[in-house]
Amino acid sequence: MQGTMEKIDDDTYELFFGPAHPGSGNFSVKLKVDGERIVSARADPGYLHRGFEKLMEYRLPLQNAVLSDRICVLESLAWNLVHAEAVDELMGVEVPERAKYIRVIMAELSRIQSHLIWYGIISIGTGFDTGFKLAFGYRDFILDLFELITGGRVYPAGYICPGGVRRDLPESAEEKILNVLDKIGKMIDFERAENPANLARLKDVGILNLKDAIRLGATGPVLRASGLKTDVRKEEPYEVYDRFDFEIPVRKEGDAYARFQIGLEEMEQSVGIIKQALKDLPDGDFIAKEFSKPKLNMKIPEGEAYIRNEIGRGEAGVYMVSDGGIKPYRVKIRGPSFLHIIPVLEFLLRDAQIADVPAIYWSLNGCPADIDR
């Protein structure tokens, strides 16, 4: 742990967790500690604040599609999708069926990839190095798919753009995706084997009960681990999620281990969704007519849209307002980590032990980039 200590009074010291921590990303928590016990924690974000919301006001929606990759690098395709849907709704674009299926496939691949990172980072935080190396190795198979389909390993450069997707799936894609899914299946089997290192570090650590979880604004896996069965894909089906058969994993315990288990089960469900989507993949256009040859002066009709999506970390939202110009008037981005890593983390760290900080921090699967935006 990269830390400095400062004495406050005879009993309490201040300890910094981050920002130069190999796993925390650019994010820091100031802990007040009394011996090994944490008296209070205060999150200190802002190392990655670029002001996306206002950068988007200066750009056209097609440029913003590229910018939206960068909101959270670990899940760039998912953020692509949220942004594209907001523009679609404002412009009233009818997205072709094939594009919707491709969007779902890419969003789910992105979720698996993000959960592999999650697994890897929890593993390194709990001292299980093999898990970390394997997870990142397997994630690279998915990055290869991204490179094949979108052209970029991590940044798809606005692959999911307003109106559909930028390019059709290449011929070999279906076979390759199925091939990779088989490999991922093996990785999931490996992860599901009960591991004493994970069990000992994560069980009964950072318990969040349902009432607190809702009050603190937890969403996604964190909320499901506390016992509420909720998933935006089921409750408010976007794209074609209502046509697929999948389960929502729920746990009652609310501890770090439950969150960790939810991540693993979600990967299995995502594999199932992709297989179904590949089976039903219809023929046809992959981008709407208006956008296949985009004009620079396309006006966005006056209005507003609030889009919610379920991404790997929780609920992602984009609120877009247009005043009838060619650029969006106001974009508000709602990142799931913003609430997970500030109020939820501060709450869970109170009265925890210093040794549990990494386990709690990484079990929330935070992405500092989407806190600061």
Binding site: Y47, G51, V73, L74, F132, L134, F136, G137
Partner: protein, 144 residues
């Protein structure tokens, strides 16, 4: 036998293994961390990630720096012991990249820190990082 400068003597010792400290913003994270993973496995080239800048030979400054994070980066640079090499990753460190009109990011890293080498790309591919590190080896060999 040709005379070796004291600097080369130090650098030759360094050349066997390069210890890296990462100061990464998000894009650096998603391309530098896979390097440690089993696919790219940078340890086979003698590159090891360390947890403390005081142990490091090479400092990776990855991605755009905001006004808040550049202060920490400068601190880390000061803590890194000599001789040190600073490698900047990504287009954002050269020109501001995507965020050229953002009010809170710096535009050129070399205005704030002495940069030895830039790796272009948004983000750079793992191979590019390997090539850059290879160039450090080469640079030391050619040193007088």
């Amino acid at each position: 036998m040709s005379e070796e400068s004291p600097q080369k003597k130090v650098m030759k010792r360094l050349i066997k293994a390069i210890w890296v400290f990462n100061w990464f913003n998000s894009c650096g994270f998603c391309e530098l961390v896979p390097l440690v993973g089993s696919r790219w496995d940078m340890e086979r080239f003698g590159i090891i990630v360390v947890g403390n800048p005081r142990h490091a030979d090479v400092l990776f400054i990855a991605g755009y720096q905001t006004l808040k994070s550049i202060k920490r980066a400068q601190r880390i640079y000061e803590q890194t012991s000599e001789p040190k090499v600073v490698i900047a990753l990504g287009s954002c460190t050269m020109t501001g990249g995507m965020y050229w009109d953002s009010y809170n990011t710096i535009k050129r890293l070399e205005d704030y820190l002495p940069v030895t080498m830039y790796i272009p790309g948004c983000p750079p591919r793992p191979e590019a990082v390997f090539e850059a590190v290879g160039k450090i080896f080469k640079h030391v060999e050619e040193m007088k």
